[in-house]
Amino acid sequence: MGERIVQINLNGRSVRLKAAPNETLLNVLRQKASATEVKSGCERGDCGACAVIVDGRAVNSCLTLAVQTDGATVTTVRGLGTPEHPHPLQEAFIRLGAAQCGICIPGVLVSLSAFLAERPDASRSEIREAVAGNLCRCTGYQKFVDAAEESRIMEGLE
């Protein structure tokens, strides 16, 4: 039941963290790796606020144990881009004003960036479906989808 050492590649940097078996990736990222950009919402896999990319797959970090991710590559919204070089999706969100209160946005960007990497040719309705696990109570979904489509155009122009 004691703590284990968990080594992950977090946003391009190797970090060693201590985690007990019952600690979720969400809590370890927020409390031990200062990754407070990962938001805590329902903590039962319903809201998607805590979504991160683990080895290429977007998952709810509240349902992932930290000890399961030893050796994994973990990307949070902070790892998608920087203020100087934002991810095309982040740029499109800013341009279209797709963020309202903001609490769901880190998870939304994580879901959409992972989904578009897998399915760059996805239809508009498939993009909508990809954020079905990210609850936005500002009901801003229209602009999420607009921004996702715009980001593909921007990416094509680069």
Binding site: N22, T24, E43, G48
Partner: protein, 290 residues
């Protein structure tokens, strides 16, 4: 906070079975965690040892064998959705993956977990019942295979023993060409089924053959409506016979009233969904073989 527990990452099926043997009934198998971690948080389950099978490669394979398609228990719902074998031979399963929870959950939830958890509304179960699936259990002595219909005992109860592991799902081939799925939820995305229904069938000159009807969320466990199947089996397809079978399916269900709908509503919806699925499956069964 999750209850205190211990953790081991299994390297193989044999290793996982060893761990189950060693830790006994306090051990729990952890795959995608989308059910187990939620249960632990809500103190419905407090295992003292988590045996993590999510990196066991031999559980993540989908193979076409002689007389069956074998799907490893660790294949995720996203893995099913992306499998060419599944898309080509089991369109019913591909269809259900689109209605299964949401994108983030599909990346973690596994087919074995969906069966072992045995929720009455588990999305993959009605389609697998309609495809006549069986469940391969790994035991210390080797493997044993049980019909999915027998594997499910009741709500959250299966035939799985404490020292066993769901190893794979077998779907007998050739698979009927006529496959259809209907799920009614309260919303489009991430919905829990109010009623779900899957049908598979073949036909010979309009005569229905090998008709199988799986129903979910309308009884203590997902089940096949043999009453409805018998009405269709060996008869010429017609709207009238589909309506009668749908009525029989509704009468064979034992729905409860809960936050998602009343028993009366579910009864009526079983009839509507089964009728719709029978028509769709029959039309697809008419499609020429590729």
């Amino acid at each position: 906070m999750l209850p205190q527990t211990d953790y081991v990452k299994a390297s193989s099926v044999a290793h996982a079975l060893d761990m189950l043997h060693q830790y006994g009934t306090g051990a729990a198998i952890l795959a995608g965690g989308t059910d187990l971690i939620v249960d632990m948080r809500e103190r419905r389950r407090e295992p003292t040892m988590l045996v993590d099978i999510s990196s066991v490669e031999e559980l993540a394979e989908i193979d076409v064998g002689t007389g069956n398609i074998r799907i490893g228990a660790g294949v995720t719902v996203a893995g099913l959705a992306g499998s060419a074998i599944v898309q080509h031979q089991l369109p019913l399963v591909t269809e259900v993956t689109r209605h299964f929870a949401d994108y983030l959950t599909r990346n973690r939830a596994t087919i074995g977990g969906n069966l072992a958890n045995a929720s009455p509304g588990a999305d993959l179960v009605p389609p697998l019942l309609a495809l006549n699936a069986s469940v391969v259990l790994a035991t210390a002595q080797g493997e044993r295979t049980v019909d999915l219909n027998d594997f499910l005992v009741g709500p959250r109860r299966t035939l799985l023993l404490w020292n066993e592991l769901v190893r794979a799902i077998h779907i007998p081939t050739p698979v009927p060409r006529g496959q259809a799925y209907e799920k009614l939820g309260l919303r489009t995305g991430g919905a829990i089924a109010v009623v779900s229904c899957a049908v598979s069938m073949d036909q010979a000159g309009g005569e229905c053959r090998r008709v199988r009807i799986g129903l979910g969320a309308v009884a203590p466990r997902a089940f096949r409506s043999s009453e409805a199947e018998q009405i269709m089996e060996g008869h010429m397809f017609s709207s009238d016979i589909a309506a009668r079978a749908a009525e029989a399916a509704a009468n064979s269900s034992q729905p409860i009233s809960d936050v998602r709908g009343s028993a009366e509503y579910r009864h009526a919806m079983v009839r509507a969904l089964v009728e719709r699925a029978l028509h769709a499956a029959y039309e697809r069964s008419s499609e020429p073989q590729e």
